[in-house]
């Protein structure tokens, strides 16, 4: 029981790492990023390529995360510009379709170029025991990485002036602009940061099992479900929803099997949109 619970929490934290990027990009840029899983895959594959070239694993992971960030930066400065130029529904639609197209470009390219590469990180000690429960080192490490990342993110959003600026844009872009904030530059920063967090999520996935080129869509859908259930404008909500859905996922997979679990998760997302479009745990960011 406790083992399943821990498993669920760890998985949930990893999902949140991915989902928080979708939340931030949607909240700030008004773009629903359907290529978010692909950001993670780009990071993971870059790390895998470095590992294959004999680079130290830690450095390889850092390179992977940085490449995901660089990819996000490039996408923000080029592909998303037409979306940012329009407003309202038009921007949402453009952003959605552009990132959907981007996800196919990334999938097609990676499948073609690196069909057999996947990221698998092996740890020296596979598991250890705490109070009679066997804990996988990978899970413990993944959980601590995710928690550190979230603490840093919250400290950044709540504690710094820049974080305040970001929250103000999420609340009201026009109002923030009137106060002399340049939303464009902040947006670039946030997209890059989100892409890096996605890259981190990809590396963590490699820690758990393995990350292949074909996993982009799967990661995107899970992240999307979490972001929707948590409320696509609320960072706190995303974290809570990630952990909750992770736990649900772990227990349901154990008791009713993988395929029903996915349907339960998807159903939760639909009902959240229909019953509480602002998210289950909507509160201020």
């Amino acid at each position: 029981m406790i083992a399943i619970l821990i498993d669920g929490i760890v998985q949930g934290l990893q999902l949140s790492l991915m989902a928080v990027g979708i939340t931030l990009i949607y909240g700030l840029g008004g773009v629903l990023n359907l290529a978010h899983g692909q950001f993670a895959v780009v990071g993971g594959i870059a790390a895998a390529l470095c590992l294959e070239a004999g680079v130290n694993p830690l450095v390889a992971c850092a390179i992977g995360i940085l490449s995901a960030g660089a990819f996000g930066l490039a996408v923000d400065r080029t592909l998303l510009l037409p979306a940012y130029r329009s407003a309202g529904e038009e921007r949402l639609l453009l952003g959605l379709l552009i990132t959907l197209g981007l996800s196919f470009v990334v999938n097609g390219y990676l499948d073609y170029k690196f069909p057999n590469i996947s990221l698998t990180l092996k740890l020296p000690t596979p598991s250890f025991e705490v109070g009679g429960i066997t804990v996988r080192t990978a899970s413990a490490l993944a959980a601590s990485i995710a928690i550190v990342a979230f603490v840093l993110l919250f400290a950044f959003l709540k504690g710094t002036l820049l974080g305040k600026v970001i929250r103000s844009i999420i609340q009201n872009e026009v109002g923030a602009g009137l106060c002399g904030i340049n939303p464009g530059r902040i947006r670039t920063l946030i997209v890059t940061l989100s892409a890096m967090m996605a890259g981190l999520g990809g590396v963590v996935q490699g820690l758990f099992s393995s990350l292949g080129t074909e996993m982009g869509n799967e990661l995107t859908s899970f992240a999307l479900i979490v972001a929707v259930v948590g409320g696509v404008r609320s960072v706190n909500g995303t974290l809570a929803a990630g952990v909750l859905l992770g736990i649900v996922n772990a227990f349901a997979s154990y008791y009713v099997g993988a395929y029903l679990t996915l349907i339960i998760l998807l159903g939760t997302a639909v009902f959240t949109i229909l019953l509480r479009p602002e998210g289950l745990f909507a509160s201020r960011t």
Binding site: L32, L79, P82, E89, L92, L93, L94, L96, L97, I98, L100, G101, L102, S103, F104, V105, V106, N107, G108, Y109, D111, Y112, P115, S221, L224, I225, V228, Y259, L260, L262, I263, L266, G267, A269, V270, I273, L274, P277
Partner: protein, 317 residues
């Protein structure tokens, strides 16, 4: 003047019918190209239906494949498990697709969901559908799919006959599209596409017309999906997957021009030609679709029809 009001529509429809009917003659009896031609008609018909839903009332249904699959699977399963005639089960499939589409639309309008949330809800429905088909292995054979050879009406066995039957389905879709657009509903759709709020203020029942567009569109999608189930010889989740239906239909519609009669047809023909050109690239064709989609969305949002309208000063519907 009144008599000529729809002249352009009629002429275009007749030209489309004649040109497409002559296509098999130009293929010189090659079974391979005849199959590609038939698939072109199927995707064009999907695009005509999607045009009513997305092109006219801005409801982003990312579940065209899933709706088609619902109709296809229901129809085939009722034939194999209950021994009904396909003539009876195809309408059941169509009806279920129409009801599903109508419900999505009604709920979305009632809850005031923006275009993006309609997209998410229907995308999630696509995933649920896909997983159900994979999961209900005893009923659907999962990924292996169901063999439909010899189950359906004999006219739908691959060959020249089925090409014309499916061309008939496409022409009926175009006719329904035209009838819808020239009626009160068409006026309402145009008002809704321009400005939903203003349309509501002008006394148009936005909910009713959006649901109408979604149900009619979904019914047409279901009809094509059910016919395809028997034509293809087998059905499996890939036949109705998001990647193999929705993306193609979206690109087709964007290429041809949203909200036009001729757009989906032009888009369908052009997409098929493009697809044949990139086929030798193998894996890379996914990349080509992605690039095409981005380029179309960013620079070519009004499609071929609007370019043609500017080039030649003839009214193209």
């Amino acid at each position: 003047m009144k008599a000529n009001r729809y002249l352009a529509e009629y002429v275009t429809s007749i030209v489309v019918a004649v040109v497409l009917a002559l296509v098999p003659l130009g293929l010189g009896g090659s079974a391979h190209y005849l199959r590609i031609g038939t698939l072109m008609l199927i995707y064009t018909a999907y695009a005509v239906a999607f045009n009513i839903i997305f092109g006219h009332t801005r409801q982003l249904f990312l579940c065209v494949g899933a709706l088609a699959g619902t109709a296809g699977y229901i129809s085939v399963l009722m034939v194999t498990k209950m021994g009904w005639s396909p003539w009876a089960t195809i309408p059941v499939g169509i009806l279920s697709a129409a009801i599903l589409g109508g419900v999505f639309s009604y709920v979305s309008v009632r809850r005031g969901l923006g275009v993006i949330f309609v997209g998410i809800v229907t995308l999630v429905f696509s995933m649920i559908f896909h997983n159900l088909i994979l999961g209900l292995r005893t009923l659907t054979n999962g990924e292996t799919g169901i063999d439909t050879k010899g189950l359906g009406p004999a006219v739908l066995e691959p060959g020249l006959g089925s090409y014309y039957v499916i061309l008939g389905v496409l022409m009926v879709s175009l006719a329904i599209y035209h009838l819808l657009m020239r009626s009160r509903a068409g006026t309402a759709f145009r008002a809704i596409a321009d400005d939903e709020f203003a349309a509501e203020l002008a006394g148009i029942d936005v909910t009713m017309y959006k649901v109408l567009a979604a149900s009619v569109g979904s019914a047409l999608v279901g009809a094509v999906g059910a016919v395809y189930a028997y034509y293809g010889g087998f059905i499996n989740p890939t036949v109705y997957a998001l990647v193999s239906v929705d993306i193609v239909v979206l690109v087709t519609l964007l290429l041809g021009g949203m909200g036009t009669l001729l757009g989906p047809v032009l888009g369908g023909v052009l997409f098929t030609v493009l697809d044949e050109i990139v086929r030798p690239l193998g894996q890379l064709n996914v990349l080509v679709y992605g690039v095409l989609m981005i380029v179309l969305v960013v620079t070519f949002r009004h499609g071929l029809v609007s370019v043609l309208r500017k080039l030649i000063k003839v009214r193209i519907p």
